[in-house]
């Protein structure tokens, strides 16, 4: 994590204690801490007045919430339609092989999280891979490997 995490209380204070703010709070906590830790989940539930079981079902329904800590670097392979046509599946598979994790998961050393995403809006450069905030257009298996070695 690059910056010091905002105190959880400060995040909770952003929203009134109503059930409708459950998702917004989960999003803010996810953004801040990279995942939703059980103790933070409990605090959120107390704040918005939603039973823990319901909050877990919401958190597992939506793909953007992670219940485990995420890696230091986020690798996102675009598997949007244009990128699919240009071989993004092969890229995703080779990353799975190289990192030893399936998509949606994080390497054991917490270095990398591998995900597939839909269109990044840069189809002109398909296939696209995003590593943290960098776009890599016309991505190749070799190019990505080289990039990962450098970071």
């Amino acid at each position: 994590m690059k910056k010091k995490a905002t105190e959880i209380d400060a995040i909770l204070d952003r929203y009134p204690g109503e059930p409708r703010y459950l998702i917004s709070l989960l999003q803010d906590v996810q953004a801040e801490y990279n995942y939703i830790a059980p103790e933070n989940m409990t605090l959120i539930c107390d704040h918005v007045g939603v039973p823990l079981t319901q909050a877990w079902s919401v958190a597992t329904f939506y793909k953007s919430f992670s219940l485990e800590p995420r890696g230091e670097h986020e690798i996102r392979v675009c598997c949007g339609t244009a990128c699919h046509l240009k071989g993004s599946e092969r890229l995703a598979q080779s990353l799975e092989r190289d990192l030893g994790v399936e998509r949606g998961h994080t390497t054991e050393d917490l270095r990398f999280s591998l995900d597939t995403v839909n269109c990044l809006g840069a189809c002109a450069l398909a296939p696209m891979v995003m590593i943290d905030d960098d776009y890599i257009g016309g991505a190749t298996q070799r190019g990505i490997r080289k990039y990962l070695k450098k970071i």
Binding site: L85, G121, Q141
Partner: protein
């Protein structure tokens, strides 16, 4: 900026801003849309700022730098447009900036090598380029033109004038009537007439007095589309203005903007625009002194495609899991918190101000009578001019793909075009002249959808594409109803088998029946339209399915189980690059003599193909 307290104030403010503009001052517009950004446009913009600062340019040549949303021709990014000369520079790199400043800004000369050339013609301005010349921009009118973070820029270009006209000089009823007259149909996919939807909400509110809500759908679920993103990023005030007019028409005081979570720049630009609009007095209490109150809240989606569906989206805004519900009662009558709620798509709403400005009748005369107006598409895949285009409805498909899109690079023509994303269908080349409008596309088994347009050539396999979309939807199904949950799984199994060369012609027919059954039985349109890509590809490309099933061949060379990698001994120089890269270590051969691939161990990852510098790897 001053607050506007009545319609007249807004017009005066605009006049003042226009008068204060120094028209002789050059403007440099750098496109920072997603496509250009990925090609380093931010560095180009940075280079301009630096170059201008370093040189200490004189006031008369010191340009105004505007960072705009997607200008359209993403393939040529990063794009730089200059005013007043109108010059259009393509594929600009940070290293080119110094020359642009020196030659064009200081000396007033053209940098020829940065101009766009096509078929031997060199173009100085964007409007002359065929890609742009054949378009008509309404929903995307301000993209590439205004800097989305500058409220002044939006106002100078007419933002909120239509809202002022509606709120101050029209009754809500007149606004609804204008929309009915325009014939505008929803751009989110289903094509429901917008005016009629607004009318139902008004009627529902009469029956049950109290809160009415409006929601703008910016969830953009189609995995291969970016029109709504481009609009939200590049013209946030246009979206807010559409919402304000809609709210006034249906009597809503609270609006929600549901934005896909993967669009952080859209969220940022919309949030800033909300604050600006509140400060300006175009959102909040007693807007323009009319007594009408309206405000907007932004909700970020959380990564579930099904949340684009109306009832699921409402659940999500209420803080729950986004599962659709049966629509015995329509959501315009009982939506958010059980109150009348109108849901409209981003592009739909960004048409609204123009309709109020120019009149419904004007709009109704663009395109065919049943599908009036223009439609934005993200034109992608195997097409030369990848980008964002907006054309009148009803133009032939070939106009978009071949004339605007420049056709398929290196090929005579396309093989198929997928419209409507995962809910749509695959249109074969033989139907290239089909009119692109809601009804004509449905007639041939596809649909308009939200505007993804994916061009495929003979190296794309239709079985694979159908499987791709179905896999996507199977994963995204919320699982609430049986036909979708189990049916899609069953369809995927069929397609997985076909792609491995298993199955029979009878099974192909079974797949069709299963697809038809799901269409009839699913609770929401996710399941209801999921079979479309499969059904259309079977309808138009049956032979290709049979090639897989009967001949055990993938003619396009895509389906992994049916292809083999081999080395062309004539071309192989024995350099050994592939040997080093093959993860399976299944390539052997002496240095400087042709190599061979051991087919048994090969996992068809394509590493050798990617690394070979001599084109010696064959895939068949």
């Amino acid at each position: 900026m001053d607050r506007v307290n009545k319609a007249e104030d807004l017009r005066e403010l605009r006049n003042r801003l226009i008068a204060a503009q120094d028209t002789s001052r050059p403007v440099v517009r750098v496109c920072l849309g997603p496509g250009c950004l990925a090609q380093g446009a931010d560095k180009v913009a940075g280079a301009f700022k630096k170059a201008i600062k370093d040189r200490g340019l004189q006031a008369d040549v010191k340009p105004l730098i505007k960072e705009t949303g997607c200008h359209g021709f993403c393939k040529l990014g990063p794009l730089v447009n200059l005013d007043p000369s109108g010059l259009f520079y393509a594929q600009v790199k940070p290293e080119d900036v110094e020359e642009i400043v020196e030659q064009t800004l200081v000396k007033g000369q053209v940098v020829d090598r940065l101009l766009y050339t096509e078929n031997g013609n060199q173009y100085q301005t964007a409007s002359e380029i065929p890609f742009y010349a054949m378009q008509q921009k309404i929903a995307t009118r301000n993209l590439g033109l205004i800097d989305p973070i500058l409220l002044e820029d939006a106002i100078i270009n007419g933002a909120y004038l239509a809202a002022a006209k509606a709120l101050s000089y029209m009754k809500p009823e007149d606004v609804v009537k204008e929309l009915e007259l325009s014939g505008l149909r929803g751009r989110g996919g289903a094509g429901f007439p917008t005016g009629r939807k607004w009318r139902s909400a008004v009627d529902a509110a009469k029956k049950s007095p109290g809160m009415v809500y409006i929601v703008c759908n910016g969830d953009e679920g189609d995995p291969g589309a970016f029109m709504d993103r481009a609009i939200m990023e590049g013209d946030p005030h246009g979206v807010l203005e559409g919402m304000l007019i809609e709210a006034y028409a249906v009597g809503a005081n609270q609006g929600f903007l549901y934005v896909r979570t993967e669009y952080p720049i859209a969220v940022k630009n919309l949030k800033r625009a909300l604050d600006q609009a509140r400060d300006l007095g175009m959102l909040g209490q007693n807007i323009l002194g009319t007594g009408f109150d309206f405000d907007v809240q932004i909700n970020r989606g959380a990564g579930a495609f099904v949340c684009g569906e109306s009832t699921a989206l409402f659940s999500s805004i209420e803080g729950k899991a986004g599962e659709p519900r049966a629509k015995y009662i329509r959501s315009v009558e009982r939506g958010l918190w059980g109150r009348p709620t109108v849901l409209n798509n981003v592009e739909t709403l960004s048409n609204v101000p123009v309709i109020i400005d120019e009149g419904g009748d004007w709009y109704a005369h663009i395109g065919p009578a049943n599908s009036p107006g223009t439609k934005a598409f993200s034109l992608v895949g195997k097409v030369k001019n990848v980008g964002l285009v907006e054309v009148p409805m009803g133009v032939p498909l070939s106009r978009i793909v071949e004339d605007i899109g420049g056709g398929v690079p290196g090929k005579d023509h396309f093989k198929a075009v997928q419209t409507g994303g995962p809910s749509g269908g695959c249109i074969p080349y033989s139907l290239k002249d089909v009119a692109v409008d809601f009804d004509s596309l449905i007639k041939i088994g596809s649909m308009m959808g939200s505007g993804g347009m994916i061009v495929m050539d003979d190296t794309d396999c239709v079985v694979d594409v159908a499987r791709y979309f179905l896999h996507f939807l199977e994963e995204e199904s919320c699982g609430k109803c049986l036909p979708c949950r189990l049916g899609l799984k069953g369809m995927v199994e069929f397609l997985d088998r076909f792609s491995r060369g298993e199955g029979s012609e009878e099974e192909l027919d079974e797949l069709v029946s299963l697809g038809e059954a799901i269409k009839d039985g699913a609770l929401c349109a996710l399941g209801g339209s999921a079979p479309n890509p499969v059904l259309t590809t079977i309808r138009y490309f049956r032979d290709e399915y049979l090639a897989h099933i009967v001949d055990k061949k993938c003619p396009a060379g895509v389906c992994k189980s049916l292809i083999t990698y081999s080395i062309d001994t004539d071309k192989c120089t024995g350099c050994g690059l592939c040997v080093r890269n093959c993860p399976q270590s299944c390539i052997t051969g002496e240095t400087k003599t042709p190599h061979t691939i051991n087919g048994e161990a090969c996992v068809r990852c394509g590493m050798c193909l990617e690394s070979c510098k001599f084109g010696a790897i064959n895939v068949a």
